[in-house]
């Protein structure tokens, strides 16, 4: 389950990105109760108390269940470790460019400690109308019954906005992050939505590289996922061996092409979409059928 809106810590609160997005998150209704910036302990920002360390922040604010990290990539490793060691159960890692060796260690360490890392290179998550922890532009998201899980930030906004135009809303959107190694996989994000009563249909936005989409196909084939899924995979036109922006979006000789992923998803009974723009129509068809007693 995602953390509720009880208390969010912002690591890197007084930095440019942290400050900007903290204000946006608060305006959206997220309860930000503390910030951490080494060297600025004892000060405050927009009435939020700032601490030097996570330990001090947690001592003063035991309600904190989630931290969002805006620290620059080369210092983010320590910041995430500090959050996990502080016992925070959800750490949302926004920065892009954390070395994969560090992420590998962090993800395994967090698992031992019982924490989840969303990202790195994640836009965060949003429960429209309630809270957002991350950098998603709120305007694109209206409350509804569709769960949206994605490896890409802007693509998430694009699809959320296209749904909004058709009068369709979102129950929860989770950006798992564009890096090669991420703490919460597409499948784990979908499992969260399976347990969420507000979610009726799930949209998965995947891309080339890795095998997270394949994992979802296998789980669906095995009957472990009950809710209907519509998937789009970006990168049909991508060449082999070139990194397409995201560190995780690289097609290697070991597979991971958009074509292979689409084929596997289809054979698992997952609806695939050729373009993010056709997703809303597909959702409408699914829900219409449902009202007629179909899917």
């Amino acid at each position: 389950m995602l953390p509720g809106n009880h208390g969010v810590l912002v690591q890197g609160l007084t930095g440019r990105e942290g400050a900007f997005h903290a204000i946006q998150m608060m305006a959206y209704g997220t309860k930000i109760t503390a910030g951490v910036t080494p060297g600025k302990g004892g000060t405050s920002f927009e009435n939020i108390p700032v601490y030097d360390t996570v330990k001090e922040a947690i001592k003063a604010h035991p309600e904190i269940v989630c931290s969002v990290v805006f620290v620059p990539a080369r210092y983010a490793n320590d910041a995430i470790l500090e959050a996990v060691d502080g016992g925070i159960k959800w750490v949302v890692a926004i920065p892009e460019g954390i070395p994969v060796k560090d992420t590998l260690y962090l993800v395994n360490y967090a698992r031992l400690k019982g924490s989840k890392i969303l990202g790195p290179n994640s836009p965060g998550f949003i429960v429209p109308g309630c809270m957002k922890v991350g950098i998603m532009p709120s305007d694109a998201f209206v409350p509804g019954r569709i769960g949206l899980v994605s490896r890409s930030g802007t693509l998430t906004y694009e699809v959320a906005n296209a749904l909004k135009k058709k009068g369709l809303g979102i129950s929860v959107a989770i950006g798992v992050g564009g890096d090669a190694i991420v703490g919460v996989s597409l499948l784990e994000a979908i499992e969260i939505m399976e347990l969420d009563d507000r979610t009726e249909v799930i949209i998965m936005l995947g891309e080339i590289g890795g095998s997270m989409e394949e994992e979802v196909a296998i789980a669906k084939s095995a009957g472990a996922l009950k809710k209907p899924i519509i998937a789009y995979i970006a990168g049909i036109a991508a060449p082999q061996g070139k990194r397409m922006g995201h560190a995780g979006a690289i097609l290697t000789e070991f597979g991971g092409s958009a074509q292979e992923k689409v084929k596997l998803l289809k054979s698992a009974g997952i609806n695939t979409s050729e373009s993010p723009m056709t997703i809303p129509d597909q959702v409408m068809k699914l829900t219409l059928n449902k009202n007629k007693g179909g899917v």
Binding site: N108, N161, A237, M244
Partner: protein, 372 residues
């Protein structure tokens, strides 16, 4: 970043793994140590891509003259699209048996994976497909290092003594972590009379780690297509593709899906250019000018969904580049998200039409490219 074979081998050697005696030649064809090599030798083109053996990138030469002649020829050639800038000359090694050994990052299991194959010399994908039982695999948590029981397992599988295998496996593990590698592969690892020797090596280092991998970051620059080199200088996240429709978008996923959109409509994307989150008008100006200057490109398709990126900044950048450019080309612009109405106003004030629907815009871009 993919290392050249000789660079990877130098790291293996420093970590205590035996490699053949050899030396490096560049286009000056001068190499200290060439005389001292025992002939015959192998002359091996250094390119950051696989499959060179199949296209004549590795040749045997029996004496010094033949080595120079073959090296000189290779240094004028391209292999799988990469011009040969260096040639590695190595003594040939007699061996009884060949193996495969690699360490890589498993993106699914979030761990390192050590792969050991009793058939070396062939591509691992082919071995995995045709002889899966010849491969032994160890999933290694990043929270621990290689232990004797790991070595014992691989040793039993490959039928090489633990004593001989252990230093090789430990060195590969050490290199993997010390240099932030995503892959260290020795294929083949051969059994010669004097022990195990790494005949070929492949290594990929994580680009995100280069800020702390000073030794790797200071290696000679890899060859890139001219336009990709120029894009690097402009600090653009750019990949060249073959087509004639230039693409600018924001965010890796949206940029990829914009390429797909063009392809689905029957067009050919010329590039991937992600102007990322929060780009200012200056970055858009640079990006647009860069693509306008590319003769391969007939039409520009700009597809922006503003989040952190503001559409008014995008619009100002586009207008500024149009004022500056000497070679105008048809522009198709689609704006949505943050400040898109202001952006639209700015662009339409400059006579550039703005679209709301990406599909409609993509169709127009494709038809404009076809008309010329």
């Amino acid at each position: 970043m993919r290392l050249y074979e000789y660079e990877a081998k130098r790291l293996l050697k420093n970590a205590g793994i035996n490699i053949p005696e050899g030396c490096i030649l560049d286009r000056s064809l001068r190499a200290e140590g060439l005389d001292a090599l025992r002939k015959p030798c192998y002359v091996k083109a250094q390119v950051p891509i696989g499959g060179r053996g199949k296209v004549g990138g590795i040749q045997k030469a029996s004496d010094q003259d033949e080595i120079i002649e073959k090296a000189a020829k290779l240094l004028t050639q391209s292999i799988n699209g990469y011009p040969v800038e260096y040639v590695l000359v190595e003594e040939s090694v007699e061996f009884m048996d060949e193996f495969y050994l690699s360490m890589t990052i498993d993106r699914n299991k979030n761990c390192y994976t050590l792969l050991a194959g009793s058939k070396g010399g062939v591509e691992i994908e082919a071995i995995a497909r045709e002889h899966p039982d010849t491969i032994a695999k160890i999933h290694l948590s990043p929270l621990r290092t290689i232990k004797d029981f790991d070595v014992r397992y691989i040793s039993n599988h490959l039928k090489i003594s633990e004593e001989m295998l252990k230093p090789v496996i430990l060195s590969i593990d050490e290199i993997m972590r010390k240099y932030d590698a995503e892959l260290v592969e020795v294929n083949p690892l051969v059994m010669s009379r004097s022990g195990l020797v790494a005949l070929d090596a492949k290594m990929i280092v994580d680009d995100s780690s280069l800020f702390r991998q000073k030794e790797i970051a200071s290696l000679p620059p890899r060859w890139k297509m001219l336009e990709e080199r120029e894009a690097d200088l402009l600090k653009l996240s750019y990949v060249a593709l073959g087509g004639d429709i230039g693409i600018i978008s924001n965010g890796a996923g949206l940029t990829m899906s914009t390429m797909d959109l063009i392809k689905n409509e029957g067009g050919a994307p010329a590039n991937f250019l992600d102007l990322g989150g929060g780009a200012q008008s200056e970055a858009f100006k640079r990006g647009v000018l860069f693509l306008l200057g590319n003769p391969r490109i007939k039409v520009l398709f700009i597809n922006i969904f503003g989040g952190i990126t503001r559409c008014d900044e995008v619009a100002r950048g586009i207008v500024a580049s149009c004022e500056e450019s000497k070679q105008m080309k048809p522009l198709v612009v689609r704006l949505a998200g943050t400040n898109h109405l202001i952006g639209k106003q700015i662009l339409e004030g400059a006579g550039i039409r703005v679209y709301d629907d990406p599909l409609e815009a993509a169709r127009l871009a494709v038809s404009l490219a076809g008309d010329e």
